[in-house]
């Protein structure tokens, strides 16, 4: 039977019930938010279940909502069922004081570097990751640059003439 968003939603709610919130289908891609503790459980369920079979992790990235208290840092998973050609988006949110999220590297080898990148940019601590250190930025960097409070430009530059830059 053709795998539709309805079927996915029904199977997920019958297994995980009310813990899945914020169901939406922007541009017909089923999206939901899960509790941070359940992320590995849900990913494993989506992988093992034969009817769902989301066995390809397309993308893993982070996001920072400074206004969403208690869940500022988000980790967003894009999954793909290659056989039925259906995509799925799962989000989990963690507070910025203690951004611990279980790692998906046991399930998908591709999550390794993608989680390192999310750690590098946002500071999300992936519990159980084999090698969680910075990947793209210099190792000595002490802040997480893609969080909204940090500026784009390098603040230590002395050669910029503010008058010329319109500041």
């Amino acid at each position: 039977m053709q795998l539709t968003n309805e079927i996915i939603r029904n199977r997920l709610t019958e297994k995980f019930g009310e813990s899945l919130t914020e169901w939406a289908e922007p541009h017909s891609l089923l999206t939901f938010t899960a509790l941070r503790e359940d992320n590995l459980k849900i990913l494993t369920f989506l992988y093992d279940d034969d009817a769902l079979g989301f066995r390809f992790l397309t993308d893993l990235t982070g996001i920072h909502y400074p206004d969403r208290k208690g869940g500022e840092l988000g980790v967003i998973y894009h999954l793909h069922n290659l056989v039925s050609n259906v995509r799925l988006r799962m989000k989990v949110f963690a507070p910025v004081e203690k951004p611990d999220v279980y790692t998906a590297t046991g399930l998908f080898a591709s999550a390794n570097w993608m989680e390192r990148e999310t750690y590098d940019f946002f500071g999300v601590n992936f519990v159980g990751h084999p090698n969680l250190k910075r990947i793209l930025n210099v190792d000595e960097m002490d802040y997480f640059p893609l969080r909204k409070e940090y500026p784009l430009e390098d603040q230590s530059r002395t050669d910029k003439d503010d008058a010329m830059f319109g500041r």
Binding site: L136, N137, V138, P145, Y150, L152, E153, D154, R157, D159
Partner: protein, 195 residues
Amino acid sequence: MSRPVRFNIKEKSTQDKGINMVDMPEGHSGEGFFATSLDKVIGLARKNSIWPLPFATSCCGIEFMATIASHYDLGRFGAERVGFSPRQCDLLMVMGTIAKKMGPVVKQVYLQMAEPRWVIAVGACASSGGVFDTYSVLQGIDQVVPVDVYVPGCPPRPEAILDGFMKIQELVQNESLRRRNGTQYKALLDSYGIQ
């Protein structure tokens, strides 16, 4: 107003089949000998046999590949042998964005080169950081190494890279043999923290 024509306006003589010979340096010639100053001979030899070290990091590297390919041949200028070992090369061609993580590597490669050495910064990113005014990009390699020629462009056309290379050739030809031991050059290196 139309721009005046600057190139290819000299009448070619009938003997000249379009073959360009390198100009002879000024000197005194007689029967079977030619005397000129050592500077000029060495300058002439060096400029037509520069061995570049392509330090290609990003998009400008692909334009460099187009420059050394047969269409815009860099080998015409004597730079046929691109070397990858700093110990053997004269010209460090930095092409592409240099991130702060890569800065120490550029400096290390520069230190490993033997005198006389020249540096050409190809592209906007190597010259001044380019489009990327961000926390992770070095705003120009002249923050870490002294640069002789800057080639702007994003990426510069192969003709522009060749133009920059020809300017390096001018520098090489006219450089005094004592420059590298002089105080001014030492002061320049000191300003970069290079001994």
